[in-house]
């Protein structure tokens, strides 16, 4: 049934002379181009883009789209990514001209409605965080981390304290240590206990007056809530350090507990996960941060202020770290987050987390006898199972299981992360899935473990391609199409 042309590239479909979009003829008196733009600066010909007609383009991309799994079409339990349903109403509302066709340098008086949405979103995020002040500017979770660490650096410099290290648990997402380096700190890894918590002895050994920040993900990447969090935060604070909470896993604790109450001084949200901004094939995300009052002066500029009956943007903030991106932030994503939170209210958000945790525990209980979960029988919103036993018994790896799941119509879990679990399969069902879907997924896993090993090694069988040769891709990288028929260059 697949259109054979669907996997041809735009460039291979191109035919000289075809057109799609044309622009109106010029309605102002035209001047000689040479008067307006020096010949030396101009190219002889426009760039060699493909030449296509509109129906070509629509069919090409529509066919391409069918080669993707997505939340709209498939169960997508990709751990740590919170692939929940993306409400259609939010798409429609975010596209309202008064929200989408607004220029970032419009006078504040002409964007009072939008500034109100953003201001209120900030207040709601602060409440959910249990913290005092918010910046909506960071463009992604990783940039939220960077923003917070730059603020920590500015804070300690202000206080005349020389602090050079950032502590990061070994189960952390790779962005945490990479961020520490970008912010000029040295990342020091903290070990975990067999239960998957931070090793307090290791913390004691590595915590000194040089530690600026401890970055912690709680619930952590194993899907566990570390109950030592208060003690950890107290110890860090006692040595003058700050605690940063990576909010990647907020979907587990909305309205149940708050990072500020745990002792965190700073955190980021991932609205594209927790508040259901669509993931867009890899982005855009957003990474708003919330901080305690004493860190507020260091937030990026501008900040939105409600003052004398109107919203305005405040740029004059002498202690601010400056800007981390252009303009206000990923407003389109933030508007969707606002719509999501307003749709749920306090009780609704709590229901989200309760059902996310219920679904994860239910799935865990269904699969643990074939895919053991090394860190216990209970989890928060996700769990990390291990295919180690399958590997030693039957030679099946986490990768094999992941690929075979695709044949059953399920997107694969996250594989080989976190690094502290061998043959890891990180499974996050989210709250927007039914018991029947979870039962179907568990049944597929059972069947896979009984199937002939060769069949599973060769999976996937029903997808548009079989396993790609990643070694070849990395050894001699081909990162663009080249016209082999013409002697280009």
């Amino acid at each position: 049934m697949r259109d054979a042309r669907s996997t041809q590239l735009l460039f291979e479909l191109s035919q000289a002379g075809r057109r799609a979009t044309t622009f109106p003829t010029c309605d102002v008196p035209e001047r000689l181009l040479d008067e307006l733009m020096p010949v030396a600066a101009r190219a002889d010909a426009p760039p060699p883009l493909p030449e296509l007609a509109e129906p070509d383009i629509v069919r090409h991309y529509t066919n391409l789209s069918t080669l993707n799994m997505s939340v709209d079409t498939h169960f997508y339990p990709l751990g740590s990514c919170t692939m929940k349903y993306n409400p259609k109403r939010n798409e429609q509302l975010a596209a309202l001209p008064g929200l989408a066709q607004v220029h970032p340098y419009q006078p504040a008086a002409t964007v009072q409605g939008l500034l109100g949405v953003l201001h209120d979103l900030g207040e709601m995020l602060a409440e959910i965080a249990g913290l005092d002040a918010v910046s909506l500017q960071p463009a992604a979770g990783a940039q939220g981390e960077l923003t917070a660490l730059l603020m920590a650096a500015a804070y300690f410099r202000d206080r005349g304290e020389e602090r050079t290290t950032v502590l990061v648990p070994d189960s952390a997402h790779g962005t945490n240590p990479a961020t520490a380096t970008m912010a000029g700190f040295r990342a020091v890894t903290l070990g975990s206990t067999p239960q998957g918590w931070v090793d307090l002895d290791d913390l004691a050994a590595k915590l000194d007056d040089r530690v600026a920040v401890l970055m912690i993900t709680n619930p952590n990447t194993l899907g566990l809530f570390d109950p030592q969090i208060v003690e950890i935060a107290e110890r860090v604070h006692a040595r003058g350090g700050l605690v940063y909470l990576d909010g990647a896993n907020m979907n587990a604790i909305l309205g149940i507990t708050r990072p500020g109450d745990m002792g965190a001084d700073m955190m980021h949200f991932n609205p594209h996960k927790t508040f259901s901004g669509p993931h867009g094939g890899g982005g855009p995300g957003a990474g708003p941060i919330a901080v305690r009052e004493h860190l507020e002066p260091y937030l990026p500029t501008p900040v939105i202020r409600w003052h004398e009956g109107r919203y305005d943007l405040v740029n004059d903030r002498p202690k601010s770290i400056g800007r981390v991106r252009s303009f206000m932030g990923n407003v389109g994503v933030l508007v969707r987050a606002y719509a999501y939170i307003r749709t749920h209210g306090a009780e609704g958000l709590r229901n989200v987390s309760e059902n996310a945790v219920l679904n994860a525990n239910y799935l865990l209980s269904r699969v643990k006898h074939i895919l053991p979960v090394p860190h216990g029988d209970r989890c928060m919103h996700e769990f990390v199972a291990s295919a180690s036993k399958l590997k030693s018994d039957r030679g099946l790896t986490a990768m094999d299981v992941a690929k075979r799941l695709l044949d059953y119509g399920y997107h694969a879990p996250t594989t080989y992360f976190p690094l502290v679990v061998r043959e890891a399969l990180m499974i996050e069902p989210t709250e927007t899935e039914s018991k029947e879907t979870l039962d179907g997924f568990a049944a597929a896993l059972f069947r896979i473990t009984d199937e002939p090993a060769e069949l599973v090694h060769e999976a996937s069988h029903s997808t548009s391609i079989s396993r790609p040769d990643e070694v070849r891709a990395a050894r001699k990288p081909v990162m663009r199409w080249r016209d082999e028929s013409a002697a280009e260059e």
Binding site: P38, G98, A180, G282, S326, L358, A473, P477
Partner: protein, 456 residues
């Protein structure tokens, strides 16, 4: 319970299978003293009908490019977006999928990224492009960090004062705690003087950051500036305007080492500043220092062409604290939109849109400066923006008064440039009609006339 599926019966059956008495028990690992007593203090939940009314009310309080005429620029523009862009990008298979970690289930996204990368190399004349950054400003900052790594120089980073001030601020923020000093070279004439650059650049300089057309809309002498950078072994990073390449020479043809851009103008909404699209392209020799995701071509086990994420060892999830960038998400959906846009306009459309921008901008400049009160701040060729000086120095009143008449007339420069505090930046895209431009000129000429005569 807007998007939940579990009925009460489902929940009971699931709890039984788990062996838990209640949902509350599943949260037992969270210490009692941390459990929130009572509810979060949030506004009440809204049904779809109520939410739509509420957001429409707030949207209606804003001026937009639909109910006002937008002459604002400075990195975000009211360009035309063909319907196909929204129609394709709103397909759930694209916008509700994620990073293609499973290539077998993501060939649509991977091929679209590979095509995007190719389109950007065709557009720019550079060897290789990555799968995108957050926006133009962060792409510029990451390019500078890339240049520091590639040259091994821990000294100076030079930037023209004619680069977007917010981009320079972002570069400064990113460099704050790294071994590099950002120095801004003044551009009082509206563009960077190649001799001035040659006079200060030295072998400690890792790179030079230039924008062309620059923040003021003016063209820079990129070839001369690049030669000055290369003379001392520094890299040239160029911020370009994608649509300008319908007419201007491409960064790759100008000898640039890293080319970055804001891709908003390629089919993406202004959306009050984001999400946007950071374009980054470079020479082949720099690819291993390039941050961000990359799609690459390979074959599957049956020998068929297919696409994967490649060179992942550059990235944070593998390199961790040794990574030079922490970037994780890209702007996949916006890259897709940009690719669709470029496919739709093609080479001829790109030339048409660029030409319209140039002609309409020139017309607007001529019309506005027909009033004695206004002059051009810089007498240089421009692409789609120009700086207007108000001899009366009453820019903020002018902007406010125009806005009240439904004309978003320009961006005041006072907050960024002390010597341009009486100036504003006007942008004219292909969407602006002759009537709208005439309306702008009239609106500006008639504003504050009484005050202006007293100061003449």
């Amino acid at each position: 319970m807007a998007y939940l599926l579990n009925t009460h019966e489902d929940q009971q059956a699931m709890l039984e299978a788990i062996g838990a008495a209640s949902i509350d028990e599943l949260f037992a690992s969270i210490p009692k003293e941390l459990r929130l007593q009572g509810q979060l203090d949030l506004p009440p939940a809204l049904t779809e009908l109520e939410l739509a009314a509420h957001l429409k009310e707030r949207a209606d309080q804003n001026a937009s490019a639909v109910n006002a005429t937008c002459f604002l620029g400075g990195g975000s523009y009211d360009h035309f977006i063909p319907a196909v862009v929204d129609a394709i990008a709103s397909r759930g298979e694209f916008f509700t999928s994620y990073t293609p970690y499973q290539p077998e289930a993501s060939q649509g996204n991977l091929q679209a990224l590979f095509e995007y990368q190719t389109l950007i190399t065709q557009l720019t004349g550079m060897d290789v492009a990555n799968a995108s950054h957050y926006d133009g400003a962060t792409a510029a900052a990451e390019a500078v960090i890339m240049a520091l790594a590639a040259t091994g120089r821990k000294g100076r980073v030079l930037t023209a004062g004619s680069v977007h001030p917010e981009y320079r601020q972002v570069v400064a923020t990113y460099l704050e705690h790294l071994d590099a000093e950002l120095e801004t070279l003044d551009t009082p004439s509206g563009a960077l003087d190649a001799k001035a650059l040659a006079g200060t650049i030295d072998r400690d300089t890792a790179c030079v950051l230039v924008q062309h057309p620059n923040f003021f809309g003016c063209l820079e002498d990129v070839e001369a500036l690049t030669a000055a950078a290369h003379d001392v072994g520094a890299l040239m990073i160029l911020v370009f305007d994608p649509l300008s390449l319908g007419l201007l020479k491409r960064p790759g043809d100008l000898g640039v080492d890293i080319a970055v851009a804001e891709g908003q103008s390629l089919g993406n909404a202004m959306a009050y500043g984001g999400p946007y699209l950071g374009i980054l392209a470079c020479r082949e020799s720099l690819v291993r220092k390039m941050p961000g995701r990359l799609a690459g071509e390979t074959v599957d086990r049956r020998g068929n062409r297919c696409f994967v994420l490649t060179l992942q060892t550059r990235e944070q999830h593998i390199r961790r604290e040794k990574a030079t960038s922490n970037i994780c998400t890209n702007q996949g959906l916006l890259a897709l939109r940009a690719a669709i846009y470029l496919a739709l306009v093609g080479p001829q459309g790109l030339r048409e849109v660029a030409t319209l921008c140039v002609q309409k901008t020139a017309y607007a400049a001529q019309r506005i400066t027909a009033a004695a009160r206004f002059t051009r701040a810089f007498d240089r060729p421009v692409f789609k923006e120009f700086v207007v000086r108000d001899r009366d120095g009453r820019v903020s009143e002018l902007i406010q008064e125009s806005a009240s008449q439904g004309v978003l007339a320009g961006v005041p420069l006072a907050g960024w440039f002390d010597d341009l505090s009486d100036c504003f930046l006007v942008a004219v895209t292909e969407k602006r009609t002759r009537d709208e431009i005439d309306g702008l000129a009239k609106c500006l000429a008639s504003a504050n006339t009484e005050v202006s005569t007293t100061h003449a």
